[in-house]
Symmetry: C2
């Protein structure tokens, strides 16, 4: 593992999606996103064979290590263990948290996607290391998503959260300030970085906006 | 784990397939197969969510334990570890054997599907606990299978095998004697047991035929 749980910078959490990468090289696109300032990478792949996933995850994991960025695997604990990933991200239909913790041990990161108060409570009781609140806005990347909570819904849910929290769903440069204003530790993006022709610049723009919003908050505390 | 590696009876190795079970209860169909004399069960599921697989595997694993039958999981080492299965069965596109052994430890069973001499050598060098030689005959259960090796091909490949070996692909009561005659330790079936209206009777018939063939071989050694 390349990171300590305590040192994770959740600011710009990028998730892979073969659909938005298209014919480009996954590794090149991800490296561009890392150069642009991605702070966490999640490998999400639902269609490849296990061997194909392990091969990609080995390469991505080594790349993330070079950039000092935590590498997480979506759903597949077998793949995460095989490549010694820094952790996993679990949806509500993935491995139950208690089982995941038993298989991964105390030091690896486990994040959970949550949509409501009940799921937040359950995940926190189970010892999740961070939560991903979803979805803030509608998104084409995950067509089966639940009803978007909006920025107000996000604020309400964040009031229940005691661990690091990121938000996901339709977040981009246009709504980033609003989402950060709700009080998240970072934002998860798929198409807003890896779906762009220039993922490096897309990541850098988001990081710069983020820095501005945060500086503004420090200079003019509400 | 409910079995010792050394005590596995490979005679009738049954593999689940949601496609052949249809609307029936997976648990009931499998229990019928166990009553009929199934000696190894492999849970093979490619479409469900991880949570759905874990739930089914927990139930099947408990059922197999009651019957003293080893319970193996196809491909998914995360699911196998979650339910403390007796082992896994890996195809050539699944987790590499060396990684699988590291994740599963020395005591769990690891079987590999092999199609040719090279794959047999690699699997044996890697410490596979058993091999599944595939496919003997054409089968509709796995439409993308390779060219069937036939009974003569099976005999040739078995000459290279030093660990327990089972055969798979279109095996049923009509060709069982031929396949056993080639020298396998057991046969893998999907539709020939779980696809039948009466899986208990289908399993019992295969076991009875097997006993006859084996007795015949002992009484009249060639």
């Amino acid at each position: 593992m390349s990171c300590s749980k305590r040192l994770v910078d959740w600011s710009l959490y990028v998730i892979t999606d073969a659909g938005v990468i298209g014919a480009r090289s996954l590794l090149e696109v991800v490296e561009a996103a890392l150069r642009g300032g991605t702070t966490v990478l999640q490998y999400r792949e639902k269609k490849k064979t296990t061997r194909g996933m392990v091969e990609e995850a080995v390469a991505l994991s080594a790349l993330c290590r070079r950039y000092g960025v935590p590498f997480l695997v979506n759903d597949r604990i077998d793949v995460a263990l095989a490549v010694e990933a820094d952790g996993v991200h679990l949806g509500q239909d993935d491995m139950p948290l208690e089982t995941a913790r038993r298989l991964l041990g105390p030091h690896r990161l486990i994040g959970i996607t949550v949509h409501n108060r009940e799921e937040i409570e359950e995940a926190q009781r189970g010892g999740a290391d961070y939560l991903s609140l979803a979805p803030v806005f509608a998104t084409a990347t995950k067509p089966d998503h639940q009803t978007p909570m909006g920025v107000d819904g996000l604020k309400k849910l964040l009031a229940e959260v005691t661990c690091p929290a990121v938000a996901i769903g339709g977040i981009n440069a246009d709504n980033l300030a609003q989402v950060l204003g709700a009080g998240v530790d970072g934002v998860c993006v798929v198409s807003a970085v890896l779906g762009r022709d220039d993922p490096e610049n897309a990541a850098r723009t988001l990081r710069r906006l983020m820095d501005e919003v945060r500086r503004h908050r420090i200079e003019k505390p509400q």
